[in-house]
Amino acid sequence: MSVKPTVISQIRQIAEDNRTPLPPLTDDLVLLDSGLDSLAIAILVARLEETLGFDPFTESDDTAYPVTLGDFIRFYDHAADCLGIDSNQAG
């Protein structure tokens, strides 16, 4: 199962906290154009770690930074596969 629903709901929560309107959350949306700045994306990664139990950025020193929302979700799904985590069950 994909982490997508968890990621989307956390993005919506952070946007709501920041009172930031969100564009449609499509896979090709550039994260930094989503209305979330890098601080908000950092918070997203921290909250996802609390919810999912892992942070794919720190699992390895070889990181390619995700540009689009689709990249970001694939990045998490890939890490969950590698860690043997059923991300649907996490958190």
Binding site: D17, N18, V30, L31, L32, S38, L39, I41, A42, I43, V45, A46, R47, E50, D55, F57, T58, S60, D61, D62, T63, A64, Y65, P66, V67
Partner: protein, 466 residues
């Protein structure tokens, strides 16, 4: 006539070759460095600032750049305002730094009766005598202090330019860019490298997005780019990251971890990637160019222009690059009796290398912006159900660190001591923080805990390690 006794940006530009092929490219305007010497941004009123203490406060960094070039060597003191400085701090800065004249690019309500001069950018050709002062201009840089009010640090042309001897030999095709604002130490270093070397410089604009800046950097053929690790992570998350193909990438201002060093090397395989330790107080300490995080232990105690020491676990630096002094603080607070500046950065030796752990005082560096935990704890403690709170750094792969809070609720608010039913409290605490703190100071995570560890003196235990 310019004096050779004290060097200034203008004297250096006047003696530099190929100025006519060198440019300062801003987001809104550009200027050829060869034209800067025959032009003024202040018109005939430049005479009003000769030998005076001048506050430079502009919206557009390009306007600041022109004013700084023109006024170095003319003003007795240049107080360089950072772009995000809250206006309420200006009157105190004006008083502390004995400011006589305010140079700005807009009608700013400075809360001060001092005369204001409007910068005309780009500079216009104008027959103006630039009378120089005896001795160097004092450069006053602002750095955030514990109370929220900025501290004023004095540098000189000599201390600011001491780290960049090697840059003078750079080839004339170098084009510098930096994600820093030039009114911060990290950006000012690159500004000087570009001006005193043989290159050109692409300045970021006020409010310009990192993507737009990357496109402009690419259009001007940038070769050397600097920024914090957080700037670089944001750049790599931009589709425009491919717009540039730099030869040299420099990181400073935050801990450069192996992840960002590797990511940059893999994304820009033609670039050499180096990270520098620098702070406004200590200046540039050293540069690390072996592609690894941390720094070689052989730097400690080595002879050279910069002496590096570790005492009580924190990094100490003594060099001609150190700031000269604080204004309005105890004279002894900048350096110890041997002239070492305590950077407050905690390091740990593992094998033949030292690694950065974080700040001793618990200061949290969120994407290059300082957060004092006490300020955040004070905001959290305003909630009536909170007994106490501690704020610590939490490691972030995006911004280096984030603010994380642990909160103990009052017994009556949390009778089972289990943090049950605390979602409402969390939302209310965050609301209080949103109302009183800048965005980077708001806790990214809040955890309710039954108790907090206290250090021997009864203070909150505040480990520096994220």
């Amino acid at each position: 006539m310019p004096r050779t006794a004290s060097e200034s940006i203008r004297t250096r530009l006047a003696s530099a070759p190929v100025c006519l092929r060198r440019f300062l490219w801003g987001a809104t305007a550009s200027v050829c460095l060869g034209d800067v010497l025959d032009a003024t941004t202040l018109g005939a009123r430049v005479a009003d600032v000769a030998g005076r203490s001048v506050l430079v406060v502009t919206r557009d960094p390009f306007a600041s750049a022109l004013a700084l070039i023109e006024l170095d060597g003319i003003a007795a003191r240049l107080v360089v305002c950072t772009p995000d400085l809250p206006a309420e701090h200006l009157p105190a800065i004006v008083a502390k730094a004995g400011v006589d004249v305010i140079v700005c690019d807009h009608n700013r309500q400075s809360g001060s009766q001092k005369p204001q001069l409007r910068i005309q950018a780009p500079a216009r050709a104008f027959d103006v005598a630039h009378s120089t002062i005896d001795g160097p201009t004092e450069w006053v840089l602002l750095t955030s202090g514990t109370t929220g009010a900025p501290k004023l640090l004095v540098h000189t042309f000599a201390s600011l330019t001491a780290p960049i001897g090697g840059a003078l030999a750079q080839d004339p095709g170098v084009v510098w860019g930096t994600f820093y604002d030039i009114r911060r130490y990290g950006g000012l270093q690159i500004f000087f490298r570009a001006l005193l070397g043989r290159g050109s410089f692409v300045l970021s604009g006020a409010g310009e997005s990192i993507g737009d800046y990357l496109v402009r950097l690419g259009a001007h053929g940038v070769t050397h780019v600097s920024g914090t690790p957080s700037h670089w992570r944001r750049a790599l998350m931009s589709p425009e990251a491919r717009a540039i193909a730099p030869r040299y990438i420099r990181l400073s201002g935050e801990i450069a971890d192996q992840g960002i060093l590797n990511a940059l090397r893999s994304f820009y395989p033609r670039a050499s990637v180096g990270h520098a330790f620098a702070s406004t107080e200590a200046g540039v300490g050293f540069e690390v160019n072996d592609g690894l995080e941390g720094f070689p232990a052989s730097l400690i105690g080595a002879s050279g222009d910069v002496q590096v020491a570790v005492e009580d676990g924190s990094l100490r630096i003594r060099s001609a690059r150190n700031a000269v002094r604080y204004i309005g603080e105890e004279p002894c607070t900048l350096s110890d009796d041997r002239g070492f500046v305590d950077t407050g950065d905690m390091v740990e030796r593992r094998g033949d290398r030292y690694y950065f752990l974080g700040r001793r005082s618990g200061i949290i560096n969120v994407g290059g912006l300082k957060v004092y935990p006490e300020e955040v704890e004070t905001a959290i403690n305003k909630h009536p159900a909170v007994r106490m709170a501690v704020v610590r750094p939490r490691k972030s792969p995006i911004t280096g660190s984030l603010v994380a809070a642990e909160v103990v609720l009052k017994a009556e608010a949390d009778p089972n001591g289990a943090g049950v039913g605390t979602a409402d409290f969390k939302r209310e605490i965050l609301q209080i923080c949103h109302d009183s703190l800048a965005a980077h100071k708001i806790p990214a995570t809040i955890r309710f805990v039954p108790a907090l560890e206290l250090a021997a003196a009864g203070k909150l235990a505040r480990p520096c390690v994220p």
